[in-house]
Subunit: 252 residues, 2 copies
């Protein structure tokens, strides 16, 4: 397909490279910074611009991969008559309704600038405001991953929320563990085998069936010992109590 | 070494098998259930008993791998004159002080009955009340893993606490995500690549350097949207706000 790519950040870069690798034709790349646009455009044999009014070449899909809060503003400045999609997990596709055909093309992964993700199994979630656009997005998704799905606005927002719990908040738990260990001159390295083993388990089983620890055992002695160890830190005490309560409610 | 093993649960079973595999001599296995003792004893060519007064064969180390709250009671019934250790993360070694030589031998992993863990890199943490016992435990730890360390009671307790945050609580976050997704007919499978990718990152970098999401971006619009989505669930609202506040405090 012929594709226009708006953005040059982590997602735009990895997605652009993958589309190029899978033999799509990237026509134009836009970034507010011309040098960033040029850098990405060179990698994927596209034309670079930092002027949205120059986004005027015919294409099959225009992909807006910019920060959530500028999607609407950018979309309104794009005048090319084609299917326009954004790549955001949490923004409704309605912000694109200045266009006739619009939708979302959401690769659910945390991208970095330099590391190529494993695209084969990467979930790509698509949605569009009409049948033929949806078909086009499914074909595009299928060309870059085996793991593509149709997901409406409400579902996509729920996925984004769930990802915050599963990803951002769990990463903060790892940081809390690291900070606790540092207090006693210990390294998080000691816990990494345990963390990795636990995450491997959820590849096979629901997290519901593999919970362990003092909360689910109702091991009041250990819980009190832990709260004692945390007594100087109010936030961690609150967090520990809340999780313990939630786990005990879940399994009672 | 000649070893006596008290217990036949997940840890006792996996540890017994590893010690046997590494050519230690398991003399006796105790379990309250004779059939469980016999089952494990057969695997590791030991003698089985369900009577603590029969634990009387000379050995180099007696390993107590039973539930935290019965360690002290079991230890007091063992009359063999040798180095006695327990395998608990959260119990002080002082509960063993009815013995002259005592300590802890703590393999930091979540064990299952049927799956052999990767012992080569599994952290084994040792502590003893005298130098020669500590040397003996270090030799024993070294024989089953490259990743062994001396860790005192206070450090071991902190590790256990940190593991509750990094392991039990993060698993509960995965369950929260699964429950949120179910509400919208979606499967946790969609998030697994993201979860696995994030955990891979902490093998290389501190969780401090890889945090993403609306809290660290101070993306108030998305945070409000998420709280709106959670408005019918008080506990999740509290948890979301607490994490957001903690992340923003950590990185401000």
């Amino acid at each position: 397909m012929k594709i226009t790519l708006i953005g040059s950040g982590r997602l735009a870069t990895q997605l652009g490279k993958r589309l190029f690798q899978q033999e799509h034709d990237i026509i134009q790349v836009f970034s507010r910074s011309l040098s960033n646009a040029e850098k990405l455009a060179e990698l994927i044999q596209a034309k670079a611009t930092n002027d949205l009014s120059e986004i005027n070449q015919p294409c099959d899909v225009c992909i807006i991969a910019v920060k959530d809060d500028v999607i609407e503003e950018v979309a309104e400045q794009i005048k090319v008559d084609t299917l326009v999609v954004h790549t955001s997990g949490s923004v409704s596709t309605n912000v694109l309704d200045s266009h006739k055909k619009y939708g979302s093309f959401y690769p659910l992964q945390s991208f970095s600038m330099n590391q190529t993700p494993e695209w084969e199994d990467l979930p790509v979630l698509v949605h569009a405001n009409n049948e033929s656009s949806l078909n086009r997005l499914q074909r595009l998704a299928k060309s870059i991953s085996k793991n593509f799905h149709i997901v409406n606005n409400e579902q996509r927002k729920q996925l984004h929320l769930a990802a915050v719990f599963a990803n951002n908040f769990s990463n903060h738990l790892f940081l809390i563990a690291e900070n606790l260990l540092k207090e006693k001159d210990l390294s998080l390295d000691l816990l990494k085998p345990l963390i990795i083993e636990s995450v491997k388990k959820i590849e096979q089983a629901s997290p519901k069936t593999i919970q362990t620890g003092p909360a689910i055992r109702n091991d009041q002695k250990t819980i009190e010992r832990h709260l004692n160890q945390l007594s100087e830190n109010k936030q961690l005490t609150t967090l520990y109590k809340l999780f313990t309560e939630m786990i005990q409610t879940e399994y009672k």
